[in-house]
């Protein structure tokens, strides 16, 4: 594998250089105008830093936080108080600790300290906030914003209260604002392309699938939340040193709406989108504000003073974007991923890995005692779904798990993979008790699984959505790419490497589910109906792929499957479930001849027919 990245160098360069060029152009344009125009552009660039901060969390996690402006406020206050001349600080904030009140730091140092302090705050506050559910995060972060406002507005002796602070040194020029914007672009892109960034994007695409490859939701969100807060704090610090005044309202709800509009209009998923959206919305906003001030439009007619016109315009832009263009102006793509450019920059095929790179160490058979389920029982509101089930999967073995619908096959796999806790019974992974472990912990311990639905990471490319499987269990980015290339080769999906996973045909998406589980390097792989929807030829290929996996990696495969040909071809042993109990275990031939098995299938289907 020659390329170190998941994207070609040309594409990565374009994705970085285009937004940087936009920032530089904006700054040059601002610097060439009047002083007032330069000030406006400087503030827009400060805004851009905040919006890029939002992108890091919202864009990668897909979860909206309204709290980031609280961090911008925090950064602004810290930076302001650290740079204000002591004589002003004492007057406005009499109870501020002397060390801070006396400090008259340089703009750069105060900005860095603001980012550091706010990052610490974000890590502490984010710990409980990120524990709340995906549904609750927008609300709990909104609550955080109000808490910040409430404290800033009422802690008069330390923050200056609701009237705010004045006489703050105005040190932010268009150059420093542009420089920091550039830094923010680099940070946001670097995070997006880091292993942690990919893991977070996987949770955005599908939480359940992400957990199944070892990704801890809270941990990934907290890291992005903290980085995001630090960028927002830098934006706040820059802005306050541009305007020279600060009040609790500066970074409150209205600013939240403005910055979120900028991000959404540009397309939250991409850094390019954050830049384009900020510039586009800021331009419209400035035009509307000029209207509000009663300027005449092209000298044809004049509009009186209309408070709120700019905000109405903002709301309308946001609404129209959501309805007409939900992925924003950028379509959620980086510059190197857009249309014709993309085709020119991306090589069609990933180089196939060498044989040496493919070789994987086989697990030591001595330590591998197998995956065991002992006396697993589970009831859903009184209905007993699993009744003291036993199961044993040896390393390197392929075990078929069959039975009529509702027999409890998927529920058993959910118990084995940690998605469902059993009421009683134990799960042992190579001799260690793992009952009640979370899915992500089990995945990192060597348990891979797929789902009946493909659950693709639709917004990632094919190769990314496989590599993220390896990253999920803690493999570094570079090695993850090599593993993905190997898996792609096995699954003969190499020519699709750079296309979006969400646009693959259903058969391929199913294979991708297996591929990302394989990329975690599982010792045991649980497959829930992998052949569903595949034609005969594809089934044959699937069997060949799985056979290769078992031989090369020595991993045990548990296969839930209705297609008996696939089961007979692949499995050395078959376990038959019916109504939460094991009806038969044995070789495929033994099981097929077992009268209890025949009855389980025919009997229940007759019974169901009679009731229908």
């Amino acid at each position: 594998m020659s390329g170190r990245g998941l994207r070609s160098p040309a594409s990565a360069a374009a994705s970085l250089l285009v937004p940087l060029a936009l920032v530089a152009l904006t700054a040059a344009l601002g610097a060439s105008g009047t002083a007032a125009f330069a000030d406006t552009v400087t503030l827009i660039l400060c805004n851009l830093v905040v919006v890029l901060g939002l992108q890091v969390f919202i864009g990668n996690s897909g979860v909206y936080s309204f709290g980031q402006l609280g961090f911008a406020a925090g950064g602004a206050y810290v930076a302001a108080l650290l740079t204000m001349p002591a004589i002003f600080t004492v007057l406005q904030t009499p109870e501020l600790p002397k060390l801070i009140a006396d400090a008259e730091l340089s703009p750069l140092l105060s900005t860095l300290l603001a980012a550091g302090a706010t990052g610490l705050l974000a890590a502490v506050v984010g710990w409980p906030l990120m524990r709340t559910s995906t549904l609750a995060i927008p609300i709990s972060t909104f609550a955080f914003l109000i808490v910040v406002y409430n404290v800033l507005a009422n802690w008069d002796k330390v923050t200056g209260g609701s009237s705010g602070l004045v006489s703050i040194p105005t040190t932010t020029g268009i150059g420093s604002a542009a420089l920091w914007s550039g830094v923010a672009v680099v940070v946001a892109l670097a995070f997006k392309r880091s292993a942690s960034g990919y893991r977070l994007q996987a949770t955005r695409e599908d939480e359940v699938a992400a957990r199944s490859i070892g990704i801890g939701l809270m941990r990934e969100r907290l890291l992005a939340f903290t980085i995001s807060a630090m960028l927002c704090a830098v934006g706040g610090a820059l802005a306050v040193h541009q305007s020279g005044t600060l009040s609790p309202k500066t970074f409150y709800f209205a600013a939240s709406v403005t910055t979120i509009t900028m991000l959404v209009v540009g397309g939250a998923r991409s850094v390019l989108g954050a830049v384009v959206g900020t510039l586009a919305v800021a331009t419209v906003n400035e035009l509307l504000r000029n209207l509000e001030e009663g300027a005449s439009v092209l000298g044809l007619f004049s509009i009186g003073e209309t408070p709120g016109l700019a905000a109405i315009g903002l709301g309308l832009i946001l609404l129209v974007t959501m309805v007409v263009l939900p992925d924003g102006l950028s379509g959620g793509r980086e510059a190197g991923e857009i249309g014709a450019l993309r085709r020119r920059l991306h090589p069609g095929l990933l180089p196939s890995p060498s044989a040496a790179e493919r070789a994987q160490p086989l697990p030591d058979p001595g330590s591998a005692a197998g995956l065991r389920a002992e006396g697993i029982s589970l009831a859903f509101s009184g209905l007993r779904v699993l009744k003291g089930l036993e199961l044993e999967l040896a390393p390197g073995e392929a075990l078929g798990l069959i039975g009529p619908n509702g027999a409890g096959k998927t529920t058993l796999v959910n118990v084995l993979s940690g998605f469902q806790s059993p009421d009683s019974g134990n799960v042992l992974l190579d001799g260690a008790a793992v009952t009640g472990w979370s899915p992500e912990r089990l995945a990192r311990a060597g348990l891979g699984r797929t789902f009946q639905a493909a659950l693709p990471f639709a917004g990632l490319t094919v190769v990314e959505s496989i590599a993220v499987g390896a990253m999920g269990v803690g493999v570094g980015r570079r090695r993850a790419v090599e593993i993905a290339a190997d898996v792609l080769g096995r699954l003969r999906l190499g020519d699709q490497a750079q296309s979006p996973a969400g646009l693959q045909p259903p058969g391929n998406q199913r294979l991708l589910g297996i591929a990302r589980a394989l990329a975690t390097g599982p010792r045991y792989l649980l497959l829930d109906e992998p052949a569903a929807g595949l034609d005969d030829e594809e089934c044959g290929e699937l069997v060949a792929i799985l056979r290769g996996v078992i031989e090369d990696f020595g991993c045990g495969v548990l296969l839930i499957e209705h297609d008996m040909n696939v089961v007979m071809d692949l499995c050395s042993r078959v376990q038959v479930l019916d109504d939460g109990e094991t009806v038969a275990v044995g070789t495929p031939q033994e099981v097929q001849a077992d009268p209890a098995v025949v009855e389980a299938y025919l009997g229940t289907s007759y019974a169901a027919g009679a009731h229908a």
């Binding site: 897909g62 109000i146 408070p307």
Partner: protein, 294 residues
């Protein structure tokens, strides 16, 4: 003793108001899975109806406020929310944020960005003597209204056909549709009821504070959201419990907090729910089931 009884009644009244807000938020969440930011503006606009119609008889103004709440909720649903009905939660949330911004600033632009005062009728600003307690009539009205609304909703949801359809749609929207539930109608009715509830809340808030402002919906909508979260998403009963807990907490803190901390009451009230969520991420009444959808 009377002090305690007095603060308990205050707590219950504020809890009732918050429960009304939370139920309005939950109704929309159950039928279309959307957390509706614009619920605050569904509260604010009817309040402005009272302000605009201040010269008319109070009953007429209240009637107009209710009509405003219902109309604006149904209009927002038809124009803004129907196109994003199948979008994900985040997209719906942002859409509702857009609607909230537009409505708020339309009022800013057409009336004034600053707060305006509205006189409440004498009857609701007086108090009644109950034993040794002097209970503000507004609190009695709030409690009576809360009870009436809850019983009315209970009857509607569990005793009528449209209620059955709403519950079915809440359970499984696509399936309910296949079985003949008219989605547009069910959602429109949910919005109408939610708008009416918001209007009642708006009227109660105006009578309590004596003023209206374009941003007056912001705190109520957050209160509603948090009540829904701590009660457990998508349950009317959870919303009621969440509202009562939050209202009682806020009211009691207002009474018993040391003077120096009173200004930070909101900060404390809005922090505690997060503490609840750390212990019970699924909310007070929510069940752990449904977390894993595999």
């Amino acid at each position: 003793m009377t002090d305690l009884a007095q603060s308990l009644i205050d707590a219950l009244a504020l809890g009732g108001l918050y429960a009304l807000i939370a139920v309005g938020v939950t109704l929309i969440y159950t039928v279309m899975g959307m957390m509706n930011f614009a619920q605050g503006e569904f509260i604010m606009l009817p309040a402005y109806a009272l302000y605009v119609l201040a010269g008319l008889p109070f009953a007429v103004a209240v009637g107009a406020a209710l009509a405003t709440g219902i109309a604006i909720a149904m209009l927002a649903e038809r124009v803004a929310f129907r196109p994003v009905r199948d979008a994900d939660l985040s997209a719906q949330l942002v859409t509702s944020l857009a609607v909230a911004t537009i409505l708020q600033n339309v009022v800013s632009a057409s009336v004034d960005a600053r707060a305006q005062s509205v006189a409440a009728p004498a009857l609701v600003s007086e108090s009644s003597q109950i034993g040794s307690l002097s209970v503000p009539n507004l609190e009695i009205l709030t409690l009576a209204l809360t009870l009436a609304v809850l019983f009315g909703l209970g009857w509607l949801l569990y005793r009528t056909r449209i209620g059955l359809e709403m519950r079915a749609a809440a359970e499984n929207f696509e399936m309910a549709r296949l079985l003949g539930v008219r989605a547009n109608r069910v959602i429109a009715i949910a919005f109408a009821i939610s708008g009416a509830l918001a209007a009642m809340v708006g009227v109660l808030i105006v009578m309590q504070t004596g003023q209206v402002s374009p941003t007056m919906g912001l705190t109520p909508v957050l209160v509603g959201f948090i009540a829904v979260v701590i009660g457990g998403f998508g349950r009317i009963s959870g919303a009621v419990v969440g509202g009562l807990v939050l209202g009682a907490l806020s009211s009691l803190l207002g009474t018993y907090l040391p003077d120096g901390l009173v200004p930070f009451r909101d900060a404390i009230v809005f922090s505690l729910p997060v503490a609840i969520l750390i212990v019970r991420p699924q909310g007070l009444l929510g069940s752990a089931a449904g977390e894993a959808r595999v």
